[in-house]
């Protein structure tokens, strides 16, 4: 049996080899697990957030600016049909923590973007023409609706916006007109006419946009 002394050595070698192989498999397993990531879920979350703030989306005023009044149109049907999120994939969209749409409870990939939210309020100005025929619109807007209802003793023949002629009629203006203004500068409207302008004769309505910053968060569960 003396010669069989190498058998224990062989056994030790096998044990060492086996443990090396097992260690290798464990390391490979760890590497593979570490490399796994929800690639498609991440792509979907990114592209959904991109599409939600795109210029041609139905609820945006322009790129990256959401129109607050139109945000109600965003529902599950829009998420599924317009943005092509397949059944079985759940999504949630929140704006500053407030949920806009949620197809189911979602825990997956999150994408956050800083967006602007635009609100429009209608402002009404009734100039009294006390000392001046200039009317300053305190906030900028792209257009304004001017209603002229000339009273006894005075007619309005021209209306200028920052010295640019926007309305004119030699016989006197009467009725409701929409004038386009520059949204890049504050506008002063000047009313030119004959006679005395009464306080009731002009009414100006305009909708200045007001934008606030918000965080749009998109969660997708693949």
């Amino acid at each position: 049996m003396r010669a069989q002394a190498e058998l224990p050595a062989l056994a030790v070698a096998f044990v060492l080899l086996t443990s090396t192989v097992v260690a290798g498999v464990v390391v490979a397993n760890g590497a593979l697990t570490a490399a796994e990531r929800p690639a498609d879920e991440q792509r979907l979350a990114t592209s959904l957030s991109d599409r939600l703030v795109a210029d041609d989306a139905p609820h945006t005023a322009r790129e990256n600016v959401l129109d607050e009044d139109a945000l109600d149109t965003l529902d599950e049907a829009a998420i599924r049909e317009l943005y092509n999120v397949p059944e079985g994939t759940e999504a949630r969209v929140t704006l500053d923590g407030e949920t806009l749409v949620e197809t189911a409870s979602v825990t997956g990939t999150t994408v956050e973007r800083v967006v602007l939210v635009e609100r429009r309020s209608t402002e009404l100005v009734r100039p009294d023409f006390d000392r001046s025929r200039n009317v300053l619109l305190p906030r900028r807007a792209a257009n304004a609706t001017v209603t002229i209802d000339a009273q006894e003793g005075g007619t309005i023949e021209q209306v200028y916006a920052n010295d640019r002629l926007v309305l004119a009629n030699d016989g006197g203006l009467e009725g409701t007109f929409t004038v386009s203004l520059s949204s890049f500068e504050t506008t002063t409207l000047r009313f030119e006419g004959t006679g005395v302008l009464e306080a009731e004769s002009v009414q100006i309505e305009y909708e200045p946009p007001e934008t606030t910053r918000a965080i749009l968060r998109v969660n997708v569960d693949g």
Partner: protein, 155 residues
């Protein structure tokens, strides 16, 4: 001569070596079977599954980014490079109209996957297929409202 007949002392090392060789062969055979029969194919398909998901996600992302935000007629060709093989065999990518789906077709059905594309509503996706092994091009053409998107192989 008869003195040597009962002398088998010289056999001992031969038996020992034969035993050791046999055991070593058995061990190597067992390990090879265990690794190639179970561990390696399982890892190959796990890695292949992950790779095919990434390939589809990369391709879908490139396709979604291809349409430009421009007015007027456009022609955009965007080249995308993807791995030649997944789990040692070629594959193809199929773009289908209707559902706007990009599907990866692979000989191993377990590795097939697909992605829904989120595109602007005015983009018309053309049914098209590319094989792996070449670069492929995402082409967007046409005026606003009737832009077409297709994928084509480069030489």
């Amino acid at each position: 001569m008869t003195d040597f007949r009962g002398d088998d002392r010289g056999m001992s090392p031969v038996v020992a070596k034969t035993l050791a060789i046999g055991l070593a062969l058995l061990y190597v055979g067992g390990m090879t079977t265990a690794l190639l029969g179970g561990v390696v194919p399982a890892y190959e398909s796990r890695a292949g599954g992950e790779l095919s998901e990434r390939v589809v996600a990369t391709a879908a992302g490139e396709i979604e980014r291809a349409p430009p935000e421009a007015d007027g007629a456009v022609e955009v060709n965007q080249t995308v490079t993807l791995p030649e093989n997944i789990a040692n065999s070629g594959y193809s990518l199929t773009l289908s109209n209707g559902t706007n789906t990009l599907a990866l077709v692979h000989p191993d059905p377990a590795l097939e996957t697909d992605a829904r594309l989120s595109l602007a509503p005015d983009i018309d996706v053309q049914n098209s297929t590319v094989e792996s092994g070449h670069e492929f091009v995402v082409s967007v053409r046409g005026p606003p409202g009737e832009r077409t998107l297709t994928i084509e192989e480069v030489e």
